[in-house]
Amino acid sequence: MDYKKKSFFAPFNSLKYLLKDPVTIRYPKENKKTYPEVEGVSPQYRGRHFNDLEKCIGCGTCEDICPTGAIQMVEFDDVKEKNGATKKRPVIDYGRCCFCGFCVDVCTTSSLGMSREYVNNFPTPPEATEDTQGEIISKYFIIRPDLNFSKNQGWITDNNYSWLELKRVVMGIFNPEERSNSFLEIVKGYTKEEAILEARRCVACGLCKDACPIHMDIPEYIMAIFNDDVKESVKEIYKTNPLPEVCGRVCTHKCESVCSLGHRGEPVAIRWLKRYAVDSLPLEEYKNVIANKPIKQAGKSVAIIGGGPAGLSAAYFLSFMGYRITIFEKEAKAGGIARYGIPAYRLPEDALNKDIDFIKSLGVEIKTNTNIDKNMFEKIYKEYDAIIISTGFDLPRSTNLSRNGMENVVGALPFLHDVREFLSNKISDVKITDNVLVIGGGNVAFDCSRSVARLQKMKFGKVKVTQVCLETPDIIPADKEEIEESAEEGVTLIYGMGPKEIILDDKGNIKGLDFMKCESVFDENMRFNPKFNENERLICEATMIIEAIGQAPDYSFIPEEYRSKMKFERGKIVLDENYSTGIEKIFAAGDIVKGPDIVNGIATGLNAAKGVDKLFN
């Protein structure tokens, strides 16, 4: 290296800088701004925290991540309660805080940020001795991060830079061409690798647990999936949910709507993770995983009328408490609305059977094809120690159209029932025409129109289904996916129209339906009370009409002497806190208590089971 050999002119070399601008700041003569856009320290400075208390949901992720234990969640009285949020808010101890900013990086709502204020230069109070130092610090250095510093924002998170994985693992779904000519399940389900990736997104805040009607241990079973321990996961699921195959597919997933990750990105696919866990463990393994012996022997017998989700749920929990259970089911197979109301492309037969078979294996007796009438009810009442009524909403509601003798007008539930029977080869054919009109805007209506589309494709090779609902797109009760997927399958949806009368041709067959414009669906008290404008009309041609405008309960099997003692409110039975109907040893569960929803059915099943147990203890 020849760096020692220097030119004679080397010192003069520096003269070339004489007329150039200096690159250094000649302080204090000059005071150049380091950050042109802001005054003072770096725009990403990590100083004291600020927290938007209204935006914060109190998930506690900041408390969990803090490497120095400086954050504690404290209940605040002056924050408004809202759905999917706790009343806890973080309080930060600046004696411990190391200003790493982890809490900001993982904040699920991006309510927590750091300011460019840094005034705590930690002068140890002069009176502090080694013993009292801790006490002084906890008294003077604990600061609640509210809006004080929010005008001077420093380090905040945005979605481009986040420790949270905001995007869901994409779920495989069959495309419309593949799925529309059969009743194969649409959603393919996660593979092991995908499930672990999806489970990794969960921050285990537990907000979902509060939102779930049966309070499933969601963070625990997701953690087990992440650890690739499916057995542990199924064990956690079965603590609270006896129908996980059903819930893993068709639950209304209130958990996902409050998921803390949903504030900045997509919520964790809790429902599909549950489905992955139960799908990947065979039924034979269940016995080794779930404790299947009753804790004690109660020696009492309980009759459950109706083998739907609520009845099965009550049977599951009661059999653990040591009761002898008999379920009376009027259909050929148990499952209720889960079997005869939900189409096979959403809930396949095998999945449902797996759940029911496990409940049967606990010693629950299911008497199928047994219809309960008044005499039978009296007999059961004498024979058993307690009765749980869980008959559900099984009568179809009808529109006010005059339909005397018209064969081609059917209700949603009988239609879906026939489709299920047709698929399991119980009946040879479902009555269907090549131009069908479905009335209704709920999930059941979409189930009907999508089933019709599939049957038409199988039978006629082309789809012609029109669905008409009262609601406008903003208040339609069905799920968003249903609307999108049905459109992909060829269903035409018309919003904001109510039926007026059926148009017949000369021979008395259905030719079409006359609709009128629906101005408003709800009245001032938010009650269902549609108002129509008869001047705006629409005529839809169709040769068959399916009415899917809701279901109603059927209490005709209960003898008058009992029914007169029960209280009813808008079709539902009013219960006391023990889920008793007011008559000794008669309890109720399911849709007839809380309205149509499978997971609520399971919750009421559990509560009725608890009520029965309370009666005998």
């Binding site: 290296m1 400086a70 906890s138």
Partner: protein
């Protein structure tokens, strides 16, 4: 000289290099034995790597080693050179390079404070940042910040107001 020529030059003129590799077009790294560290650094200083940008360390707790890192810079070649050496984790010590670069005094003080490495020949061990420190050096991987926080300050009590 470009980076390739520099690597060749160093390889040919200095013995005892364990590993030399390019990181990107402006950076390359050299690994040497602990005993050879002063030799390599003085050789590099003479070879136009005149600036000592930083001394730092990495705690490899599983391998029971601490990696000491010297970052040099050459204005002439516009290259950054990372010189690494591994020392024992139980009794971490290495010779000071304060006679090569005066600024190393401060860097070594800093590394001693945060990693507990003893720089033989540098007696200035006064802490620069930590206040009343009584635990193991905080950038060691076995330092538990939560436990430290709880022992020093006690368990976090709620705001009493």
């Amino acid at each position: 000289m470009n980076q390739k020529e520099l690597i060749e030059y160093i390889k040919n003129n200095f013995k005892g290099i364990e590993n030399i590799k390019s990181i990107d077009e402006k950076q390359f790294s050299i690994t040497v034995q602990k005993e050879r560290i002063i030799n390599i650094l003085s050789f590099l200083k003479l070879s136009n790597f005149k600036e000592l940008a930083l001394i730092t360390a990495v705690d490899w707790i599983k391998e029971e080693k601490i990696e000491v890192v010297y970052i040099l810079f050459s204005y002439e070649y516009e290259q950054q050179l990372i010189v690494k050496t591994y020392i024992d984790r139980q009794e971490p010590s290495i010779e000071s390079i304060k006679n090569l670069w005066e600024i190393a005094t401060m860097y070594e003080r800093d590394v001693h404070e945060f990693f507990g490495i003893d720089f033989i020949g540098n007696d200035d061990k006064r802490p620069l940042i930590l206040h009343n420190w009584k635990d193991i050096p905080p950038l060691r991987k076995d330092f538990d910040s939560l436990k430290y926080s709880n022992t020093i300050f006690g368990k976090f009590k709620k705001d009493k107001e």
